[in-house]
Symmetry: C2
Subunit: 364 residues, 2 copies
């Protein structure tokens, strides 16, 4: 196999420091498993704004296109809060999604047994929780035209955004959800607002057809987005895979994450369509933000970033064994009682970013 | 004062049976407090579809326009699930909102001390919770044009909806939120997605300006919708009043409701702009649905419908004393241990719809 090209984009805030712990894991992969990467690194977000005046350079997008996988940290820095709509740090991730065609955002929400008490929900409600939200991520209201703010003849302003979904866009993300489900508990819940939105009505129809045509072995249900938000709070374990559009997915996946009580633990993947040469564009990132308030203090939790690497090994390089080894090492380290500040609880041992990273590699 | 015109629309499922308990309370109002109503009643939702082939007749909308207040039950019946987009029972409520200009949907999420254990969240997280969500309800993506499903030249379909907000629409609902906050804990959190949607950017600007101009005594914060969903799970008591658009409001208010663990307890109000004659269009309804699975069994919880009447007395007729009396009676009855099935817990006395209604009136 030719060298595995990996582009690392640490970004802002705690991004760079949690990414350093990933380096320990890739060193282990090379040392003990003979798995090596051709790594390059670049700036995005506030870091790129400071250096180049743009949240992401065309050059970096090009590098991402050529990489086999992108490992992303996090972007956002209060310094750039008022920088204007066309320069905000979030554009780094939005542009990567769109330019690389990363249409399927996979957001696992999983409760680790050792952390079941971290949730604000009762342990009996969330113990064993394991949901996979598949969120469409290059379409919908984030990218539809017309959009903008216009001034009306009477001087008032009018803000507009357009939600658009085509059969093709819905089908391809639906397919990812059904494939995921087959490897999990074989059940998909499709979420929209077909009772008030025609784009939701089409969503429901297309998913229903696709299911009947190609995935009738998978259990399919449909749920309105408002009800889904309620059900995630009432009884989250009823779900296996949830598939939904960009905007609902943004809200529901964050909601699902918070059920676990420990954002510092959760990775994500965003996948594109396979090219004719078999390569699949893919980006992996923790779901937590850049956490500027704790950046540089050495106390951030590196686990979500390390688990993002595990997802990368699994989905981009088919290294299921190594992915599982890393996930198990994380569980084992938690079981020994080590905790970073964000997941600290009474009677446990509080450690910093580097000690946590080291412990995981030692466990490996 | 001239007769208070009240239009009662029980709707489907448990609507009619919980509305019967409201009649006990209005009888008490007349007997003991000398407060009377000129009541008329009509069909909506599935009940109207069955009788007239439409979820709501123009005649009923006209009656609602002429009423001082509308007390709504709930609509929706599985029988009408596949009736088509232009006949679905939900149109009853959507049309009433739009035709009467009911732009501000007030959704309290309140945890009663006696029911703190009903929540799936830990009691220490939700005890004393008291949030008011002000949701814009005649604009945004529910009503914007263009909308629909079109067939593309290649045979694919494309679903479209448009989110539109004008300065005026944002300002008037913002004003309601700030006014509410002044009577509560004086704090408003405005929620949008200004980082990806220009309509959200305008929302944020307009609320910020309005605050600076007219409500600088109220504490204002801004939050992204995805973060708000997380914060509602992480630490819901940080909120007093939340103001947001139609679609985010739909999801976030349902999420907030579920934090209380007892949907059968929660009322809502939807208000319009005062006419020149001082009348304000207003509709009151429980947030629970028509619950077809338990309809007709006499076990539904009438409290949300009764508390909707309390909101009606407060907002439409300035009968603060009577509204508070009813709310206190509900608390007192819960404290004695009476529970309908939906809020039942060990050691309490399980009662039906009518016994609960009677007990509240006896307490009054
Ligand atoms: C950074 C931001 C644009 C993004 C979004 O809203 O999609 C984030 O919230 C996410 O969920 O990935
Ligand atoms: C009935 C339906 C159209 C409605 C909505 O989505 O607005 C409901 O969910 C609500 O919250 O009032």
């Amino acid at each position: 196999m030719s060298a595995r090209k990996l582009l690392i984009l640490p970004g802002d805030g705690i991004g760079p420091e949690v990414m350093r712990e990933v380096a320990r894991v890739t060193a282990w992969l090379s040392r003990k498993r003979g798995i090596t990467f051709d790594v390059s690194e670049d700036l995005v977000g506030g870091a790129s704004l400071a250096e180049y005046g743009t949240p992401i350079r065309e050059e970096v997008i090009q590098k991402a296109r050529e990489a086999d996988a992108v490992l992303f940290g996090s972007v956002g820095d209060p310094k750039w809060n008022n920088v204007g709509f066309d320069k905000r740090p979030e554009l780094a991730i939005l542009k990567l999604r769109q330019e690389l065609g990363l249409f399927a955002n996979l957001r696992p929400a999983k409760v680790f047994d050792a952390l079941v008490d971290a949730s604000t929900l009762k342990p009996e409600v969330v113990k064993g929780l394991d949901i996979m939200i598949v969120r469409e991520s290059t379409g919908g209201i984030y990218f539809g035209d017309p959009r903008g703010i216009e001034t009306l003849p009477n001087g008032e302003k009018r803000g507009i955004n357009t939600e658009v979904y085509t059969t093709h866009e819905i089908e391809r993300v639906g397919r990812i959800a059904f494939e995921m489900a087959r490897k999990r508990k074989n059940s998909v819940c499709s979420v929209e607002k077909h009772n008030v939105m025609e784009s939701g009505l089409l969503w429901k129809e297309v998913i229903t057809d696709l299911h009947a045509r190609e995935y009738s072995d998978v259990t399919l249900s449909h749920m309105l987005a408002d009800n889904c938000a309620m059900q995630l709070v009432r009884n989250p374990r009823q779900f296996d895979v949830i598939v939904t559009g960009n905007l609902f997915g943004d809200i529901l996946s964050d909601l699902a994450s918070m059920l676990t009580g420990s954002l510092g633990m959760l990775p994500s993947a965003t996948l594109g369509a396979k090219h004719s040469d078999g390569r699949m564009p893919a980006l992996y990132e923790p779901i937590h933000g850049s956490a500027p308030d704790i950046a540089g203090k050495g106390i951030a939790n590196p686990i979500a970033q390390i688990l993002s690497l595990a997802m990368l090994l699994r989905y981009s390089f088919d290294l299921e064994t190594e992915a599982t080894m890393i996930e198990n090492a994380v569980s084992a380290v938690l079981a020994t009682g080590l905790r970073t500040a964000d997941i600290m609880s009474e009677g446990k041992a509080r450690v910093g970013t580097d000690v946590m990273g080291e412990a995981i590699v030692r466990e490996l």
